[in-house]
């Protein structure tokens, strides 16, 4: 299978912050790859480097056989970009904007078909400024597709949407996949990655921490069991508790969660430890882990919405 994208050892730092820290992955033609991770994981920076919007510090990148850092006009003719925050001349109508931007491409799509694809037929001649946020995001999508691109980048296509608007956008995006285009999308919604992607690369702290099909990720999870409980005091010696476990455990305040492929042994260790110390484990539960738990264990649950660097993640 031909590779649309090949990334090896990609690095990018903003001052002391290593936003992208040795990332490698491939995307084959016709594949939908979701780069999943929390804000600040390095997703947007990675994608912006692939688009040619940002320079890299190190590593090898090939996109459609070209180095995006020196891609030029011919390279941009073959890709479609839907940025997280890119404006459009809002006093134009959707149709006017598509005509204007489409003129620069060698093989633009039919504007009427495109307007239909993003479900803006009724609004095509209204000024963009009068459209709702969700509708504008679909104008963005249409503008990203106007050049009939072989490869499409979608940077957090549904961030800030309500669940209904998100569903609608997912329908539009999955329509694209049926056209055989290669798509790279970033998201911090696990559900979105699962719904849209053939493959998911999970990023955290500038690295790819897992890479596989949603089913593979799910399988790796389903064998795991989650043991959770509350400690009576904050200052219990966690290392002594967690170190000998087969699974992975971590504490957040008094709450301790352990993901383990060997629940019987680990539970025995935990309860023995508690009995030895004469403490009660409040809210002790043992249940099978879901994808969310594995995702959180991969990216580190303490890594919540912090913005970092100029790349918004």
């Amino acid at each position: 299978m031909t590779k649309a994208i090949k990334v090896r050892g990609l690095t990018k730092a903003y001052g002391d912050l290593r936003a992208v820290d040795g990332v490698s992955f491939d995307v084959v033609e016709g594949e939908v790859l979701a780069i999943l991770g929390p804000n600040g994981a390095g997703k947007t920076t990675t994608v912006e480097i692939l688009e040619g919007h940002r320079t890299r510090d190190g590593g090898d990148v090939s996109v459609l056989g070209t180095d995006p850092g020196r891609g030029g006009r011919r390279f941009r003719d073959r890709i479609g970009i839907v940025l997280q925050a890119a404006g459009v001349d809002r006093e134009l109508s959707t149709r006017e904007a598509l005509e204007l931007y489409g003129a620069a491409y060698s093989n633009p799509r039919s504007i009427d078909e495109l307007i239909e694809l993003v479900e803006l037929t009724d609004k095509a001649d209204d000024r963009i400024v009068s459209l709702s946020g969700g509708q504008r995001r679909r104008v963005d999508l249409a503008l990203g597709l106007i050049g009939n691109p072989e490869l499409i980048f979608l940077d957090e296509p549904t961030t800030g949407f309500d669940p209904r608007a998100r569903r609608r956008s997912w329908d539009v995006i999955s329509n694209l996949t049926s056209l055989g285009r290669t798509i790279v999308l970033t998201t911090h919604y696990l559900e979105e990655a699962e719904y849209l992607a053939d493959r998911v690369a999970v990023m955290a702290r500038g690295r790819v921490v897992a890479d596989g099909t949603p089913a593979q990720l799910r399988r790796s999870v389903q064998s795991d069991t989650k043991i959770a409980f509350d400690l009576p005091r904050l200052d219990e010696p966690l290392v002594e508790l967690l170190e000998p476990l087969t699974g992975q455990g971590k504490g957040r305040g008094r709450r301790v969660e352990i993901l383990t492929p060997a629940p019987t042994a680990d539970l025995a260790h935990v309860t023995n430890w508690a009995v030895r110390r004469g403490i009660e484990l409040d809210g002790l539960t043992v249940e099978s882990a879901d994808l969310e738990d594995v995702y959180l264990s991969l990216v580190g649950a303490d890594d919540d919405s912090e913005e970092s660097g100029p790349g918004h993640g």
Binding site: L83, G87, E91, A103, S106, G147
Partner: protein, 287 residues
Amino acid sequence: MTPRNRGPVMADGLGAGRMSLVVRHIRAQNRIFWRVPIGAFFALFLPVMMLVLFVALFGSDAYTTEYGEVSRAQFYTPALAVFAVASATFTNLAINLSIRRDEGILRRVRGTPLPPWIYLAGVVGSAVYMALLGTVAVVTLGVVAYGVNIELAKLPAMLLALVFGATTFATWGVALAALTRTAAAAPAVANAVILPLAFVSNVFVSFEGDPPTWLLLVGDTFPLRHFVISFGEAMSPFSEAPALLPERLGVLVAWTVVGVLVASRKFRWEPAVGASSARSRRNGQPG
């Protein structure tokens, strides 16, 4: 309208030809201009209204000016025509380009095969077009309503002054957008520059009698006064054709050169960090 398959194939074999893209973008920017009333107000309506007001307020009696004893209308017509040019180019470009940068429009352009300079040429070209419209409106009103002097033999001097002046102020509009960090600051900075300058540049008042040297010095340092006097001289009833003022046009050229240097070194296509993306993101929320 839009070519479905490969349009006229250019040297680089991509899309429509460069000139046709420039024209397309000038047209689109003109359309946007008419749809945002505020720009049209300052560039076109305000100078015309000021001409009517000033003549009504001060009457048509003789006025001592750089060009000799002329009517108020004869003084204000070229001055306000030039002011229309400065508003349409300098002020509007500084504001519009920083808004387009803040909103991420310039950033979007950089991700498409459209050469960024063509987008810029569309915005600048449209501003110059509006400057010409403003000039025509003010001069026509002056000639038709107030009998202001205009001579065929000096028309080339008027056009030359206009071309040099519009180029200088368009260049500095782009340069100012390059020097301002955010769109919020642009209108304030542009007006803080152009309004005081207008007072020392023969736009609103002429330096009668003996003005303080420092006022003259300030006026002669910046390009506006040279632009106003070049254009006014070409309309003056006392000047001899061709009524060209090469030294003053030379000052405009010098300012243009500096403006081009500043603009080409400092112009950014990416929004400033923090200032803008918050706003663009808000725009991305569902209504």
